[in-house]
């Protein structure tokens, strides 16, 4: 039985009971419990089922390395799958459910997989399920997916009830890990005045030391911890954070921290998680070490646990995993567990020490206290299915012949320790194999380096492979001082406090399989990766089949790829692989350590940027007015623009047609504020403009406007718009709505990389102005009615601009047209936008003023034969394709794209050219349709000779009109082309001129 002990439990507040449910069953624990310790206290050792064979599984560890005890936590919008019970702090009302079983944890149909285990070795799925072919998609794969998958998916309509935030921090020294090494390193760095940030993933300072014992300055480790924390708290330059894990180390000292603010108190005010985004001068990883399991048959039966974890549960949480615990080990540390168990009044019938020579002082003490110790022995097999009932003992040197069976209800195993080198390794830190301690340790000579080639990560303490208290504190002190120095601070001379050295310990012996000659039946039951069900036999099979690289083995067997990322299994697996290959372990090498250290919530990664804050919507000054009219809005760039303004009961199509007619008949209004407005100013602005645009812009007279084309370096048309010359050294460039930022960046790129000596500023003033199109035969009348500026033909001719006070509002008026109508665009300061708009509406009443949206805009420009960036262009079209040669200056020596446009394919007469298209039956050509030619090409594809670039129903012509790019198009006027529809039927369209409306420009010139 696992149970709560009368004594122990240094982290508990035994007076405070906490009730929770597991699989619907009500249970109680204490404040300070983890879910795992509380479950143990309720005799719930079995906590889950494994991934592949659905084996019953209990908790094996006590921290972040736990592979088995994963639960679905919470309900509804706060449900979360795959939460580790060992790192889940217990809270009142917690509700947890075990995973990966049906119908229940105790009776799981999926467990039949165990019976077939022989047929499901590593990689079996690569060798079967191939016939018949269609079965993969419809039979095999759905079955495999359903039986894998671990935790339940949150409900499809879940909207996370919690919030998250990001925190940006800068620090000289970041210490990851708040055990004694981390605290000492922080003290050493902090005393120099350096800014120090310390992150500790658990809710407690001090790490393992209080459990493992030892003295600092003659006092228990706990006293040192309290004093250190007090001293650090008193320093202004030091920040301490609990429940905050160092998640990843990236280039240039960039580190992610993951702070779990309210996982232990769900629903509390404020964010649930906080993602720390830290720029650190130096990073110290004081992340401790993790104990390794031993590989013996049945090492996954619930009740078999890491020796250190058993010790933790007794000391920290006052729970025992069982009354009688057999300890099995290859090192001295596990003896501490035996002694702790004795101290707690529990029974340790036997210690199996695989080393022929046995242990040191701790072993003597265990013997002296009456524990039976067998050396050179190991476990042949664990008895029991859902719970340990005993162990069968064998000689470690043999093949597993059973010498004796010993009943017990828990097994404490220790295969040695592995430093937590993850964060050290994320950014390229290299490791050395220490054969004496059987562990990979950070190689200080090959640390991650920053931009200057100097190291920026250092490991210390157990994370650096140091295990004696004294050595750890010294190592940490040096690391803290070195980091302080590296960030320009003067560390004092204060050394580390003196601590007790580990007593006389016998060396560890490498034991990668127990017993050493275990037969195949035993190896098939000796687990390496608990969660993914990878056994010794699987790794051996992979190696035999040629998957010899450690990465191949990992991928073939899935070793180390579970949610614990191999924290317990990687080294054991690597050792088994090396043995088969007959190579030393370091030659096989490790797999790459990748962030995050343990999984972090997607919610935290997304942070505040969700919902309305995901990509904030840019709003024009009349955005609210549009919404109040129930405009149908479409996203364009980061804006929303009205597509049309449907009246009650009106379809979008009808609204668009009405808007076009009303504008052409009388007066339309367009909110054009979203169009980009870039000011180019400076002594060199003229020649810069000539480089940016294909047209000549330097000779544009002040007061005049010119339609300009802008190409990429590759010659492709990237943006267009009207350019106005505001003064001698100032040009105003209009860009497309989506193009403003891109064009601005394009200009800056050239200014900063090519012509950095030209004297020019470019400013994006898009949002400084509200700009409205006043369009239609009555546009002049309405503006004259507003009064204040002479807008007669003589005063303001087509393609000119002027400034003045319209209706009392400072305005800049451009006489330009994108519809073919008499039309003006009026820019006013953004603050006056809404006021001006209201005045336009008011004055326009008598003309039946009609606001129109983007679709009416598109139709009118198409009727007039104007191209649209994004429709007629797609990144592969050059101005010459669109008959825009008139806008390309022949006089200029150069402009961006000119050289590219001279390349052979750019001047090829076979390039498709812009034409108008009219369906023979008057219908609307389908969007994106292609004109087919004769036969098929060398790859069997239908030959095509043109395509539709934009297509509309024109209310003005009362028929479908389209523009398109067609092979030799302009030379083929009148020819009829076939355009297949998606249903295979054909639409026929005639090649025509692409200007339908007012070809001679009489309307816009009135």
């Amino acid at each position: 039985m696992s149970t709560r002990l009368a004594t122990g439990g240094r982290l508990l507040d035994k007076g405070r009971q906490v009730s929770f449910t597991f699989n619907g069953k009500r249970m109680t624990g204490c404040a300070g419990d983890t879910l795992a310790s509380a479950l143990l206290a309720n005799d719930q050792v079995m906590m889950g089922r494994s991934f592949k064979y659905h084996r019953p599984r209990g908790v094996v560890a006590s921290g972040a390395e736990e592979p088995n005890a994963l639960v679905g936590l919470g309900t509804g919008a706060r449900f979360e799958p795959n939460q580790r019970a060992t790192t889940t702090e217990l809270f009142e009302g917690l509700s947890a459910a075990s995973q990966n079983h049906w119908p229940s944890l105790d009776y799981d149909i999926g467990a039949v997989n165990q019976a077939f285990a022989r047929f499901l070795p590593a990689g079996f799925y690569y060798k079967m399920f191939m016939f018949p072919r269609v079965f993969w998609k419809h039979v095999y794969e759905p079955f495999i997916r359903q039986s894998a998958g671990l935790g339940k998916a949150p409900d499809a309509e879940t909207r996370d009830a919690d919030t998250y935030e990001h925190f940006h921090a800068y620090t000289d020294v970041l210490v990851i890990g708040g055990g004694i090494a981390g605290l000492q390193a922080a003290l050493a760095a902090g005393r120099s005045g350096a800014r120090v940030l310390v992150m500790e993933q658990t809710p407690h300072w001090g790490g393992r030391a209080p459990v493992d014992g030892g003295e600092v300055d003659g006092k228990p480790a706990e006293a040192f911890i309290d004093a250190a924390v007090a001293e650090l708290e008193a320093m202004d330059n030091v920040t301490l954070r609990l429940r905050c894990m160092g998640a990843g180390v990236y280039d240039h000292g960039y580190v992610l921290g993951y702070e779990r603010l309210s996982d232990h108190a769900p629903g509390a005010d404020g964010p649930r998680h906080r993602l720390w985004r830290v720029r650190a001068g130096q990073v110290i990883t004081a992340t401790g070490a993790i104990e390794r399991p031993l590989s013996f048959a049945g090492n996954d039966v619930p009740g078999v646990m890491l020796a250190s974890a058993l010790r933790d549960y007794v000391v920290n949480w006052g729970v025992s995993a069982g009354d009688r615990t057999v300890v099995v080990t290859n090192n001295d540390d596990a003896y501490r567990t035996a002694l702790v168990l004795l101290d707690a009044g529990l029974n340790v019938p036997l210690i199996l020490d695989a080393r022929a020579g046995g242990g040191g002082a701790l072993a003597d003490e265990a013997r002296a206290r009456g524990i039976r110790v067998e050396t050179g022995k190991g476990i042949a097999k664990v008895k029991g299915r859902a719970r340990v009932t005993g162990v069968a003992i064998c000689a470690q040197a043999g093949e597993g012949a059973v010498l004796e069976e010993v009943p017990c209800d828990a097994v404490a195993m220790s295969g040695g320790w592995s430093p937590v080198v993850h964060l050290w390794s994320h950014c390229g830190g290299k490791l050395n194999w220490d054969d004496a301690l059987a562990m990979f340790r950070p190689d200080a000579g090959r640390a991650p380096t920053g931009h200057d080639g100097a190291p920026f990560v250092a490991a210390c303490g157990a994370a650096n492979g140091e295990f004696g208290l004294n050595a750890i504190l010294k190592d940490a002190n040096t690391a803290g001082q070195t980091a302080a120095r590296a960030t320009g601070h003067k560390p004092g001379r204060k050394g580390a406090p003196k601590a007790s050295d580990a007593g006389d310990e016998a060396p560890l012996e490498q034991v990668w399989l127990m017993p050493q000659g275990a037969n195949i039946k035993l190896r098939m039951k000796a687990w390496l990766d608990y969660q993914n069900d990878v056994k010794v036999s699987d790794v051996q099979l992979a190696a035999r089949e040629g998957y010899e690289s450690v990465e191949h083995t990992k991928r073939y067997t899935t070793l180390g790829m579970a949610t614990d990322q191999g924290k317990l299994s990687n080294i054991n697996g690597l050792a088994v692989l090396s043995n088969v290959l007959g190579q030393p372990i370091p030659q096989a090498g490790t797999t790459t350590f990748r962030p995050p250290y343990t999984p972090i919530s997607m919610g935290a990664i997304a942070g505040e940027a969700r919902g309305a804050l995901f990509q904030p919507i840019r709003r024009t000054t009349v955005h609210d007015w549009h919404e109040a009219q129930n405009a149908y809005m479409e996203p364009v760039g980061h804006w929303r623009r009205p597509y049309c303004f449907p009246k009650a009961g009106e379809s979008h199509e009808d609204a668009v047609q009405r808007e076009v007619r009303a504008t052409r008949d009388s007066l339309g209004l367009l909110d054009a504020s979203t169009l980009g407005k870039l000011i180019v100013k400076g002594p060199d602005a003229g020649r810069f403009m000539d480089m940016m645009y294909t047209n000549m812009m330097s000779n544009l007279a002040v007061g005049k406007c010119r339609y300009g084309l802008m190409c990429s370096e590759n010659g492709f048309l990237m943006d267009d718009g009207v350019v106005a010359r505001l003064s001698d050294d100032t040009w105003l460039c209009h860009t497309t709505t989506g193009g403003a930022e891109r064009v601005h960046a394009h200009m800056e790129e050239f200014l900063q990389t090519e012509w950095w000596d030209w004297q020019i500023f470019v400013a994006n003033v898009t949002e400084q102005y509200a700009q409205f199109g006043v369009v239609g035969p009555n546009s002049r009348k309405v503006l004259e009615k507003l009064g204040g500026v002479d807008l007669s033909k003589e005063a303001l001719a087509f393609m000119q601009w002027t400034e003045g006070t319209l209706a009392g509002i400072e305005s800049r008026i451009f006489r330009i047209s994108f519809s073919g109508e008499l039309s003006y665009e009026v820019a006013v300061p953004a603050s006056m936008g809404r006021a001006f708009w209201n005045k336009l509406l008011e004055a326009g009443k008598e003309f039946g003023v009609t606001p129109y949206g983007t679709e009416a805009l598109h139709i009118m420009r198409a009727e007039k034969g104007f191209i649209m960036i994004g429709d007629e262009t797609d990144g592969t079209v050059i101005p010459q394709d669109l008959g825009l040669n008139w806008a390309i200056s022949k006089k200029k020596e150069d402009y961006i794209g000119k050289r590219a446009q001279a390349r052979s394919y750019m001047t090829n007469p076979e390039r498709w050219k812009l034409v108008g298209l009219e369906t023979v039956d008057g219908s609307v050509l389908p969007d994106g349709a292609y004109a087919v030619g004769e036969g098929v090409n060398a790859n069997g594809q239908r030959v095509v000779q043109g395509r539709v670039t934009s297509t509309y129903h024109s209310p003005t012509l009362e028929r479908g009109i389209a523009m398109g790019l067609v092979l030799h198009g302009p030379d083929r006027m009148g020819e009829v082309l076939d355009f297949p529809r998606l249903d295979g039927s054909i639409v026929q369209a005639k090649i025509v001129d692409h200007v339908w409306f007012d070809k001679d420009g009489e309307k816009q010139n009135v």
């Binding site: 706060r78 979360e80 799958p81 795959n82 022989r118 070795p121 079996f124 690569y126 060798k127 079967m128 399920f129 191939m130 072919r133 993969w136 794969e141 495999i144 359903q146 894998a148 998958g149 671990l150 935790g151 339940k152 499809a156 996370d160 280039d251 960039y254 985004r277 039946k521 036999s537 089949e545 040629g546 998957y547 990465e551 191949h552 991928r555 949610t563 790459t592 990748r594 995050p596 999984p599 919530s601 997607m602 990664i605 997304a606 940027a609 969700r610 919902g611 995901f614 479409e634 996203p635 590759n714 990144g875 390349r903 052979s904 394919y905 969007d927 292609y930 594809q941 297949p980 998606l982």
Partner: protein
């Protein structure tokens, strides 16, 4: 070669799987080969495979500096689709997709090609028009795609949020025979088949120089010594620029990091692949249950095989917005690969200025799907000096300005 099947497994189970042989052998290099392929990624191995299978050329070595399949082949998010816009792309990607359909049977290795359907969301009017155009083009190219309405999107992807406050889903381009495959298995399956044809796969061996005589290739220098050859195929993805330099020419290729990440495994909740290009993210669920997630490439050149966190953040934001329940999942691991980007984001399959040297690279962020088709075409190019599938992908197209630009239809091309 020992055939794989359920019966073989049953037979082996009786003797505890002691009888399986090596999937591929790891020989020492010979003095000379007819053809050397540099790079044992999927593309290099597929090239070797089709040289043997289609042209009977089996005196071939595939030389790999690391472990086979350890480059982008083993790092990608395994999306396979052929709904490309431009004719040359659609031709090679569709050829490839159709080869995936029977790859498990052809290789006798289950690569788990799963034609579960790929959906590309249209979230702006411009995207709607772009995908309508792609659907039109695909119909004429023999690629089966369809533009679907939001209701059908929701039916196929119950976890999607159609009315995100930012970009509503307006429809999607849907290819129902597109999907995913097991990336490692593709490399392993080809390696086993090549080895079985007598080809040598030489791992842990870097090609350090290309030896030339009179403008012609005669062999390579490697970390395992000099090896002669008549023809050389460079198929090294992110290292294309480096290898080209060793062969004495330059390529219009830049190498940048592309990252991906997976969530912890959960029970099946999404059966298709969804790509949301407006917000820059895509997601599918692996057979293990992990949500496999990717996004845009890093904006700076590098060779480290790790990327910056900022892209991960952007991608996850996009997906939380598109699939709100993702917020309650956790990121299990992130990684990066170095992808080779050309100026038009389309690959190069080409002869080179050095006679006898051929290059296959520039697949950038989207070449896993092309693996068999690329191998098929490259083998033809190397064996016959020309292939209709590669004609348009010559490296000289950049000089002519004859780009094959796919960004037209979609911002990201995976």
């Amino acid at each position: 070669m020992r055939r794989y099947s359920a019966f073989a497994i049953a037979r082996e189970a009786a003797r505890y799987h002691s009888g399986w042989g090596k999937a591929w052998s790891s020989p020492e290099p010979k003095k000379k080969y007819d053809v050397i392929i540099v790079g044992a990624g999927g593309h290099g191995l597929a090239t070797a495979f089709y040289l043997g299978r289609n042209f009977g050329i089996t005196n071939v070595a595939v030389i790999e500096k690391g472990w086979l399949g350890g480059g982008n082949t083993g790092r990608n998010t395994t999306i396979i689709r052929s709904n490309y816009l431009q004719d040359p792309s659609a031709a090679i990607y569709e050829k490839s997709r159709s080869l995936y359909e029977t790859m498990s049977q052809d290789l006798n290795y289950n690569v788990m090609f799963s034609p579960r359907g790929v959906m590309m969301l249209a979230q702006t009017q411009a995207e709607v028009r772009g995908y309508l155009r792609t659907a039109q083009a695909n119909a004429l190219q023999g690629v089966s795609t369809r533009f679907i309405q939001p209701a059908e999107v929701k039916k196929l992807v119950p976890i999607i949020n159609l009315d995100g406050p930012r970009y509503p889903v307006l429809g999607a381009l849907w290819q129902d025979r597109a999907g995913t495959a097991r990336h490692d298995a593709v490399a392993w399956g080809y390696a086993r088949a090549c080895s079985d044809m007598g080809m040598d796969i030489i791992q842990q061996c870097e090609v350090t120089a290309v030896r030339r005589e009179g403008g012609r290739v005669v062999g390579v220098d490697t970390t395992k010594g000099a090896i002669d050859c008549d023809k050389l195929g460079i198929v090294v993805a992110g290292n294309s620029g480096v290898m080209a330099e060793r062969a004495g020419f330059r390529l219009p290729i830049e190498s940048v990091a592309l990252q991906a990440l997976v969530s912890e495994p959960i029970k099946p909740c999404m059966d298709v692949v969804v790509m949301a290009n407006t917000v820059h993210g895509y997601m599918s669920q692996s057979d293990k249950g992990e949500m496999v997630i990717g996004g845009g490439a890093d904006g700076f050149n590098n060779y480290t095989q790790r990327g910056s966190f900022h892209h991960i953040e952007e991608t996850v934001r996009a997906l939380v917005e598109t699939f709100p329940m993702v917020s309650r999942l956790k990121m299990l691991r992130q990684w990066g690969g170095i992808v080779d980007m050309t100026g038009d984001r389309s690959p190069i399959l080409s002869k080179t200025p050095v006679e006898g040297v051929f290059i296959n690279g520039g697949w950038g962020t989207g070449g896993f799907k092309a693996t068999p088709g690329s191998g098929w075409a490259m083998a033809e190019l190397m064996a016959k000096g020309h292939s209709p599938l590669t004609d348009e992908f010559s490296m000289w197209r950049f000089k002519e300005g004859k780009f094959i630009d796919e960004s037209v239809a979609a911002g990201v091309a995976h």
